[in-house]
Symmetry: C2
Subunit: 362 residues, 2 copies
């Protein structure tokens, strides 16, 4: 697969240029590009620059708004209900996590629930935001119905996501998962790389397992992770993010926004910040000890020591650091070349063209 | 497999008699038997009367105390840190969830973290406790290290549990899951019923998959549900319940308490109660609509409509209602006959002996 390198700075320049063209004010650019680039930097490519096209389309069609600010509808000392006003997802997400942290400073815990949100991108981003201030962060968001319950053939739940992060002195753990075997972005990425997918990720239109990304994307029927456990977790997330927030949920969410037809997706999210110091004095030291206990377990293959949650992503960051650039498939670059032409902005510039050693990033 | 019926009332009488013999005061009996019998009634047999033996042993050895009360160490308006004082798990669990509900009444959310807890039994019990007062309940507890991370051969995490419940007008959802493929109680139950287990539940001592419950129980190496996702979820639960609470975590927890040798297991738990009315006015109606959307999905087999989280357990309750008694394997009854003799209490009385149609309960 042909891959080309793009400097992080140029990727950011390109994202900003595109967003400016659809009207996003300068003050809001960085907040959006931060989340997009963090995803690619961590190797979670499905929700990185791959999602820019969708954001541009929804901003252009005003399903997603750049001229509004999220607003608190009601609040207690520890909880808040936010109206995201269909603002850009990253803005709603940051607003809610910052609010959760502020509440956690006073009450030990901050629990913020938003309706009328949009796609928030990398969920881990918001957990890191809480961790940067010494808090534990937990993030949930619902999504368009793309996942089938075990024993069914129609999608009634999203591949809803859950991120959880906690920081020690030397180590951290970062769980960032979809409740499906794999989120749709990973399938889009496989298609872009012209690769097959494992046949336990998704069904085709006939309800049979498929290893073709194109058939999986057409059918929009992902398998839940761990069968009924992934399904039940997805239901839990949708109850909290959708049913409880006043947002859309289940099949009320337009399927992959192709059906939007004049409506915003109206997604929901939950952000939780916890101050561990309320409960234990040496949380960071204890977390390091916890990580040490996990990593000292005996691996089946000596060359593959156990990985802490989030370690694969950390390794990908080192890989990008080594490359000094982001490796994007040429198919993606061609797609964004067309978009650049359409928006009259300078396309993504190739740092230098090369065949990169194929690396398992996900 | 020979199964006999025991009336619920007699099962309760037996539990109370045994607990009295090891010193548990009358006022605390009901609270313990409620949780035990709720598990058997719901078909979660591994954590039902099957666990009584362990409770009796730990109470007898004073690893688990009946003469203490859980105590609040510190609190805010929305959060509390509780010292379970190694009291009986059900008492700590009820105390913490009731406290979480009280806090949620004032702050919209109540978040209670306990150390020095013991085995709490059916996690769903505590979520139902919150639901009975109109709240959403979320329960987490850590456990002895019995689960291997993907690619490893030693157990460093427990089959930590997560329960989540929310109630509509007509329907409810109740997710109650272990982060392992199956919790150890289910394997004990299979052994009691002289059944094989699927080979994706656990390893044997050599690190290979096994379908023999005896080998699985000896090795104490369960597989995580959904591979790395179950492992990461288990780590998240241990960070919150163990690392953050000041309780034991990971390999600090004695392995299946055989290693206790003078120590209490010092488990941790988290109870979260949420008042949905803080966020949306018609939560119950919306939850019913959510459930309706899930159940209306097209099943692969018309005779097997999709089940909401918790529906299998509801069906088991109807089954027990039909029987008018709890079906226990004769091997279990023999074990408790010996314990009854030892404690000089009347054994479990058989309602009438019969071969019960084998039913998939789990």
């Amino acid at each position: 697969m042909q891959t080309s390198l793009v400097l992080m700075d140029d990727a950011r320049r390109f994202i900003h240029d595109c967003l400016r063209r659809v009207g996003v004010p300068v003050a809001k650019l960085r907040c959006i590009s931060d989340v997009i680039l963090a995803a690619d930097y961590r190797g979670v490519y499905g929700t990185g620059i791959n999602r820019l096209e969708l954001y541009l389309r929804d901003i252009n069609q005003r399903y997603c708004r750049y001229d509004v600010e999220p607003q608190i509808i009601s609040e207690t000392v520890a909880a808040a209900h936010v109206d995201g006003k269909n603002a850009i997802g990253a803005l709603v997400g940051n607003f809610c996590m910052d609010l959760a942290v502020e509440k956690a400073k006073k009450a030990g815990i901050g629990f913020v629930v938003a309706k009328r949100s949009h796609h928030i991108g990398l969920a881990a981003w918001y957990a890191f935001r809480a961790m940067a201030q010494g808090f534990i962060g937990l993030v949930m968001s619902n999504a368009a119905p793309m996942m089938v319950a075990p024993g069914t053939q129609t999608s009634t739940l999203g591949a809803n996501c859950l991120a959880f992060g906690a920081k020690g002195k030397q180590s951290h753990i970062m769980l960032d998962m979809s409740t499906a075997m794999k989120e749709v972005g990973a399938i889009e990425w496989a298609m872009m790389k012209n690769e097959h997918i494992p046949d336990n990720w998704a069904m085709n239109d006939c309800g049979s397992p498929t290893c073709f990304p194109s058939l999986a994307l057409a059918a929009q029927r992902l398998y839940p992770a761990g069968e009924h456990k992934g399904y039940c977790l997805s239901a839990m997330i949708d109850v909290l993010c959708g049913v409880m927030s006043g947002a859309n949920y289940s099949t009320r969410i337009p399927r992959w926004w192709a059906e939007c037809q004049g409506h915003s997706p109206d997604l929901g999210l939950v952000m939780l910040a916890i101050d561990p110091a309320v409960f234990v004095s040496d949380f960071e030291g204890r977390l390091d000890d916890f990580c040490e206990r996990i990593t000292s377990s005996c691996p089946v293959d000596e060359n593959c020591p156990v990985k802490l949650p989030g370690e694969l992503e950390k390794q990908h960051m080192y890989y990008v650091d080594d490359l000094r650039a982001l490796p994007y498939p040429n198919v993606l670059l061609s797609k964004y070349k067309s978009i650049a032409d359409m928006l009259c902005v300078e396309p993504l510039k190739l740092s230098f063209e090369c065949k990169i050693k194929k690396k398992e990033c996900d």
